[in-house]
Structures are given as structure tokens and as C-alpha cells.
Amino acid sequence: MDELHELTAAYALDALDADGQRVYEQHLAGCERCQEELAALSDAATALAYAAGEATPPAELRGRILDAASAERTNVVPLRLRRRPPLQALSAVAACLVVGLGIWNVTLQHRLDHRSALGAVLADPGAQRVALSGAAGEVVVSQKGAALVLDRGAAPAQKTYEAWLIPAGGDPIPAGTFDRGGAVLLHGKPSAGMTVAVTIERHGGVDAPTTEPIATAKLA
């Protein structure tokens, strides 16, 4: 056991061979002491990256990476689907399909609008930004709407994150549910003095919070 603890530094430096790495990772999964130590030693190992030496990557590397990422994304929207097939080609079956695609497109368009609205809020240089307490992240309030950035993974199974706008001395107003951390648009726009809070609720969301907030931000 003790021998495995001693491997933490080597693991942080990527200095174990493949077998050693596998054995250590199995141990790590169940050892809190090593998890804590590894977090600290990995930060120190990463500092070594900054002392590696100065080098400028070729300018085209950035574009190559972004192109490859773009080509890979699974949730990419194939815009050409929005064009309808020529009418004369429609059979009854095809007609049903087009109606289906139409509905799908409406949903998709809604999602796209949501995303671009979110981007507009996040990118607004004039927005008010307040850091969350309780969890990493922030609330961004712009003329264009309000967004919440929450640095957490997925909500627990069968649960959802729910955002709230809480007026000073008033009852919390539901501001949307989401299943994983990241950036989301809030429903409604918080005003000065309101608190934005996030709770974990049962799947589907609730009308009033039933748990203590995991994160809050009070707007000035």
C-alpha cells in the first residue's frame, strides 16, 4: 500500500510505465489521500510546462485544430436539411417526412436562437458580471438578457439543476432548469438587489426550491 502512495509524484510527472500507471490508477480511485496529494503535485508538475522553453507554434496549427474539432462535432446542424425537397417529388410518405422535418427545424431554430442569444449575453462587454459563491461560475446580466455560467458536471441521476431569481424579501421565481453545468440563458431578467441561486431538484424542475442552493450570486 505504502509503495503505491509513493508513486504519486512519478504519476504526476508521467514517469510510470503503462503497467505502473494502470496499477496506480486502480489504487487512486479508492485512496483519498493520494487524490489530494496528486492534485497538489500535478499543479507543481504543470508549472514545469511553463519553464519548458519559448516556442511559437506555427500559425496554421490553430486553424487545423479548430477545423478538425468542427468536423467532429456530433451536434452539428446540417443546414441544408432546412431546404424542402421540390413539391412535385412528394409522395404521401415524403409529405409526412417533410412535416416532421419542419417541426424538427422549428425546434432546431429555437435552439440556435437560444445559443446565439446566449453568445450575445456572454460576449457583451457592457454586461454586469457577478461571481457565484458556493460553486465556480458567474452570472452575466446584459441588456440582451441574463446568463448563468456554472462550472459543474451533470446533475445527479434523476435530478436537474434549477435556477431561481430571488427578489430581496420575496419568493424565488423559477428561471429555468438544465441538466449539466456550463452556460445557460436565464428565463426572466434579474434586477438590482436580486439574488440568483441554483438548487438541485427532481427531474423536470419544481415551482419552489426544496433544497439549499449550491450556488448563489447577489446582484449589486
Binding site: E6, A9, A10, L13, D14, A15, L16, D17, G20, Q35, A39, A40, L41, S42, D43, A44, A45, T46, A47, L48, A49, Y50, A51, A52, G53, E54, A55, T56, P57, P58, A59, L61, R62, R64, I65, L66, A68, A69, S70, E72, R73, T74, N75, G119, L122, A123, R129, A136, G137, E138, V149, L150, D151, R152, G153, A154, R180, G181, G182, A183
Partner: protein, 193 residues
């Protein structure tokens, strides 16, 4: 768009990457591309391989950002660990280790991005200064492992020392480096507050 994310923390930008926001990946590259490439080049000593390592690592960031847990560590540690691991995988595969991994080969630097470069230089000097304060044998073990891509058993063989000695040098050296860097952080904070 990408630079407009500049006010967000690394962790918040990574949360956007997890939602497949391409500008967020561009922002992550703008923040870490240069240090990632410098690291990969130091380990691999080959520009083509270094680019491959950086590209593989950033695509891993793109694919797996949702598995990053902010409460378990900083985004920069996660990203640069992916880069380092990929570079070490490649160097072990390519057997391109040199006998002089301690020498670095600086490249000419483009004139733009001067703010970021100034910060990178500051950070580099800070870490190099901390490294210089380590006893020689500890510094050697850290540098050969991290920049040379040697495993602890290869190091023991190369230096003609028992494995236990190498393990203990790496451990003591890394823990000491951490203390030195933290002590400096504290000084920095107190001198500016």
C-alpha cells in the same frame, strides 16, 4: 468572438467547450497553445511531432471537456497534463529521446500577442528560478522525467541508482518545487496588497 470570452476564467471557458462551443475551444487554444507547443517541442524535439501532440491533446479537450471536474483541479493542469501525456506517449513510441533533454531550443517569437508572451515569460522565469533552488539531483530527476519523457525505471538505469532513490528524489523534488512556488505566490500577494 474568441477574444470576447477573455474575461471568463479558464474553467468557465472549458464549461463552454463542454457544450461544443467552437469559439470557446479557440479561446482555450489562444490561452494554452503556446505553452503546450513549447512543452511538446521540449519533450519531442521535433516540430512535426510536437504539432501532432498539441493537436491530439486539444481534440481530446474538445471531446472530453464535459468530464473535467473543476472541483478536482485547475483547468490549466488538466489541459497541460493531456498535452504532456500525449508528448510522452509519442516520445516513448518514437524513441527519439536525446541524451541532452536539459537543453532547450528557443524559437523566434512572433511580435503579436505581446501581453500573453510577457506573462508566459514571467511565469517561465518564476518556475525556472524555483527549479534552480532545488538540490541538483532532485532537479535532474524532475527534468529528465518531465522533459525527457523517461520513466522512473529508465531513469534508475540511466543514472545507475536504485529505483527507490529515484522515486524519493522525484517525490521530494516535486513537493519542494510546489512549496517554493507557493511561497512565492504568497509573497507576491502580500507585496501587492
Amino acid at each position: 468572438m474568441a477574444r470576447e470570452l477573455a474575461h471568463l476564467s479558464d474553467e468557465a471557458v472549458l464549461a463552454l467547450v463542454a457544450r461544443s462551443e467552437e469559439p470557446a475551444l479557440a479561446e482555450i487554444y489562444d490561452r494554452f497553445g503556446a505553452v503546450a507547443y513549447g512543452l511538446a517541442l521540449r519533450v519531442l524535439r521535433d516540430e512535426g511531432l510536437a504539432q501532432d501532440a498539441v493537436q491530439d491533446a486539444f481534440l481530446t479537450v474538445w471531446r472530453t471537456a464535459r468530464t473535467f471536474a473543476a472541483e478536482r483541479g485547475a483547468a490549466r493542469t488538466w489541459i497541460l497534463t493531456l498535452v504532456h501525456r500525449r508528448a510522452v506517449d509519442l516520445v516513448r513510441r518514437e524513441q527519439r529521446r536525446r541524451t541532452d533533454p536539459l537543453e532547450s531550443a528557443p524559437e523566434p517569437v512572433a511580435a503579436e500577442q505581446t501581453d500573453q508572451l510577457a506573462w508566459l515569460r514571467f511565469e517561465r522565469e518564476r518556475v525556472q528560478a524555483a527549479l534552480r533552488k532545488l538540490p541538483d539531483q532532485q532537479r535532474e530527476a524532475l527534468e529528465l522525467a518531465y522533459y525527457g519523457g523517461f520513466s522512473q525505471s529508465q531513469l534508475a538505469e540511466r543514472l545507475g541508482e536504485p529505483l527507490g532513490t529515484i522515486k524519493s528524489r522525484m517525490h521530494t523534488g516535486l513537493a519542494r518545487l510546489r512549496e517554493l512556488l507557493e511561497a512565492e505566490d504568497t509573497q507576491w500577494t502580500s507585496s501587492t496588497s
